[in-house]
């Protein structure tokens, strides 16, 4: 199997003006490392508002101008430059955006799904493909001429999904495809995403809903305060003893069906000098306060914790 996407030590920060001309750098993603293979779904799980979507935006090269990015992103072994991103996006790499607000309110949905065309011939060709994909997701011809405000939440999601699939991408990035949908629509979305995997595609699923990640993904990355703290196989999430990071355990035990267990602590707002989970960690060591552990491999699991593995022993 080929590695489709490889993200190494990606950090994203924003420059903000705080008062007058005083500028301030706001770090959103720190040292993020993750990969997606063909035939694989990898989920990134983190609380909403924590900056997960920016990972998707940086892969596609649509970050705002005041952002700074370091680290590298590779697609099939080639480093993704802005030029290459622009060439591949919409074709080999596609995004299912987070909300209906990404649709153009003044354009019929079929036209936005087809997108930009050079001439009449290309339009006709793409129109056929668009019909085919819409049909597959149960959107009949009457939907083609609707405007986004006329769609229900579930239909809008299908339009977003179809739009992403018209280019027949190899890598799909799904950014929070499920919140606010009822159970039936969530099940459908999960099936849709799994089907993509069956067809040999790679999917990076960005979500805050553990259930969706558990039902679809092969591996799950836990995102905490801008850091990936653990990447574990989905099987291991049914038994908290097999999870390594203390936050991951707390998170899984907080699910309603796992006892709805309460634990204290909120994610730090400002930059911390050590491990981001230091303040709330039950097994913290002295060195955790001022040193950030590296993401290392331990028995096939990627983990960022001083308590695990020997590599992190001395900073």
């Amino acid at each position: 199997m080929e590695k489709l996407l490889e993200v190494n030590n990606l950090s994203i920060s924003f420059t903000q003006y705080v008062q007058g001309l005083n500028r301030h750098d706001l770090k959103v993603i720190s040292d993020l490392t993750i990969d997606v293979m063909e035939n694989e779904i990898v989920a990134i799980l983190g609380s909403s508002g924590s900056g997960k979507s920016l990972l998707a935006h940086s892969i596609l090269g649509i970050l705002p101008y005041n952002s700074h990015v370091s680290g590298e992103i590779k697609y099939k072994g080639n480093i993704l430059t802005q030029e290459l991103k622009e060439k591949l996006r919409g074709k080999e790499i596609c995004l299912i955006p987070q909300s209906v607000n990404f649709l153009d309110p003044l354009m019929k949905v079929s036209e936005q799904a087809i997108g930009e065309c050079k001439d009449e011939n290309e339009h006709n060709e793409k129109k056929l493909r668009q019909r085919e994909v819409f049909d597959k997701y149960g959107l009949d011809e009457s939907v083609d001429d609707l405007y986004p405000f006329e769609l229900s939440g579930g239909m809008a999601r299908k339009v977003l999904l179809s739009t992403a699939l018209i280019g027949n991408p190899n890598l799909l990035i799904a950014d929070e495809p499920t919140p606010g949908l009822d159970r039936k629509s969530v099940e459908e979305t999960i099936e849709d995403i799994k089907n993509l995997k069956e067809n040999g595609k790679g999917v990076l699923l960005i979500t805050h809903e553990i259930d969706v990640a558990l039902k679809t993904a092969d591996r799950i990355a836990i995102f905490y305060s801008g850091y990936v703290i653990e990447i574990n196989k989905v099987e291991n999430f049914s038994d908290t003893d097999k999870l390594l990071h203390p936050y991951t355990k707390v998170l899984i035990n907080a699910l309603p069906r796992n006892g709805f267990n309460f634990s204290e602590g909120v994610q730090p707002l400002d930059d911390v000098s050590g491990c981001p989970y230091y303040e709330n960690c039950p097994v913290r060591l002295d060195k955790c306060e001022n040193n950030i552990p590296q993401l290392i491999e331990h028995n096939g699991v990627m983990i960022r914790c001083f308590n695990i593995g020997g590599v992190n022993d001395e900073p």
Partner: protein
């Protein structure tokens, strides 16, 4: 106290009726769950209960009396997206104290950090903002809370934390809660009783 909705009917336009003869009853010591499909009208019912929509048929009463709309409204609604309910040009301290000035122990219970108070709403995450919007709604004059998908956008741990705090406070102060959600597992943990929206809506 008892909050009662009697035969509520409502439609946004003449073509489609959303609510028909919906009745429900909520006591102060109760937590009742409400579950239903997207777009079925749950949020519309919430807005009617909390006094945001007034041109409906039927009536909403507390202990059999109409709710006066000239005073603090005793039924408070908490929304799914706290960022949409706050003035972006007010700092969090003003956002919170617009309603009341909660004592320190209550701020601690909701995990509000002092340095959050001097921030703007766009500088906090959804989970942090939701803590503010719940505490803001818990003014001493509040008798009932309508929680419309308040933890849908939050991670599992934050979800436990805010529900724990909200329920503890409500039990201690005799506040009734209507919890609306898609998540049946969550409602089963939280609620004394669960209503299915299609069973109470007589369309």
């Amino acid at each position: 106290m008892n909050l009662k909705a009697n035969n509520i009917s409502f439609s946004y336009n003449k073509k489609r009726e959303i609510l028909k003869d919906v009745s429900l009853s909520l006591n102060s010591n109760q937590i009742i769950g409400l579950i239903g499909d997207s777009g079925s009208g749950k949020s519309t019912l919430c807005k009617i209960l909390a006094g945001y929509i007034t041109n409906y048929d039927g009536d909403v009463t507390i202990d059999g009396k109409k709710i006066p709309d000239k005073d603090f409204y005793p039924v408070q609604l908490i929304f799914q997206h706290p960022e949409k309910t706050m003035n972006p040009k007010w700092k969090m301290e003003k956002v919170l104290t617009e309603s009341w000035n909660p004592p320190q122990n209550l701020k601690d219970m909701f995990g509000l950090k002092d340095n959050w108070l001097t921030r703007w709403p766009n500088e906090l995450s959804g989970g942090e903002l939701q803590r503010f919007s719940i505490l803001r709604a818990l003014n001493p004059k509040t008798k009932f809370i309508i929680a419309d998908e308040i933890s849908t956008m939050l991670d599992a741990l934050t979800q436990v934390q805010i529900w724990e705090a909200l329920i503890n406070y409500s039990k201690a102060n005799n506040i009734g809660i209507l919890a609306v959600s898609h998540d049946i597992e969550l409602l089963e943990v939280l609620c004394d009783d669960i209503l299915h929206f299609e069973d109470i809506n007589n369309l």
